[in-house]
């Protein structure tokens, strides 16, 4: 997204809806929580856009997303659930065989389950980095922590994750 123009709400919903949903889903493993979060974030974005001054849009958007996520977690007074996802509807370009689909869903489920087992602080940074695709700098601005902290959390998150993944890769 260009840095120098204010996107419309429709732009944001269209371009980032899936990313926000996936972010929330990877953090919670729960489709309902992910849906709630998308709604909340898009409403906040709509309100916020009127006062948004062009700058780092990603930083701005993910700070809103992250704050909304923490608010939801606090509001619901429960830790992100560890329920296993049953609902990984992959977006597939070409048509893979049923076996390929099943295998990839299984792998994806394993990784999702492992993600839910690592501390939220690590999970959040790993997801922002590897799912959302933010730079360390952007993550730092989104979670309001120094880049050094981001770096350390991503590293420790990945290490723990690898320890939890048993399948040969």
């Amino acid at each position: 997204m260009a840095e120098d123009r204010v996107p419309t709400w429709e732009d944001v919903a269209r371009r980032y809806g899936r990313k926000i949903y996936t972010f929330a889903y990877r953090l919670t493993g729960n489709p309902d929580d992910a849906s709630d979060l998308v709604q909340e974030v898009l409403l906040r974005v709509r309100k916020g856009l009127a006062n948004y001054t062009p700058g780092s849009f990603e930083g701005w958007l993910w700070r809103i997303t992250r704050n909304a996520f923490l608010d939801e977690v606090r509001k619901k007074k429960r830790r992100p659930t560890t329920q296993l996802p049953e609902d990984d509807r992959a977006i597939v370009g070409s048509t893979p065989s049923p076996d390929e689909v099943l295998a990839s869903v299984r792998l994806s489920d394993d990784v999702q389950a492992a993600l839910l087992k690592i501390p939220l602080e690590f999970r959040e940074c790993v997801v922002l980095c590897d799912v959302v695709g933010l730079s360390y700098e952007e993550i730092s601005s989104a979670i309001d922590a120094p880049v050094g902290t981001v770096r350390s959390r991503i590293h420790r998150g990945r290490k723990q994750l690898r320890g939890l993944l048993t399948w040969p890769m």
Partner: protein, 216 residues
Amino acid sequence: MADVNHTHEIDVSTHIDADVECTIGELLSAYLDGELRVGELDLVVSHLNDCLECIAEFHDLKEARAAVRMMPMLQVPESAMPAAHYGPELSAFLDGELTADEQQMIVKHLQTCTDCLLELQDLDGARTAIRSLPGLEPPTPIAPRLPVHHQRTSLRRLGVAAAAVIGAILITFNMASSGPEPTAVDLDQLADQHNVRLSVEDGVSGVPVNAPGATP
């Protein structure tokens, strides 16, 4: 920093112990992500030449990263997308209570959204109906004016502008035939809808928060 390398090479055995890791370790993820700072790259590359433990760790990290990255982007369920329409903002728009930016946003939206345009028409009808009610004398002294009030004078002009815009838009959409019917408007219902929307819209907190629980 210089003796990091040194310490590690001398005491390779501690590397096997999960608790004690080579200090270069933390740089490996940043290396993978192309996020090393100036000067760190050489350090890491030369270290990876002769530290088997770090090479192994590097592969682990790479696998963990690949595992997360291969997870698919998910499709947002239809129900999760909030309607791209404006509720409370429409009334504020009519009353000229929006900022110029917000106003612009609404005008732009109204050019393409018949739903909101119809609602705006309803609201306008309701507003007219209320305003045409006979004025009554206030029973008690009028409530003190809120400090917000003095800001409104300039905004009221926006209200006039808003009305003009609606007029223009309505004409474009050629809806004069159906026209607003103020008498048919159920004000209570309108107000209810409004409250519901308002509660949904509540609260933008830009306050940065710390994640709960332990910090590394």
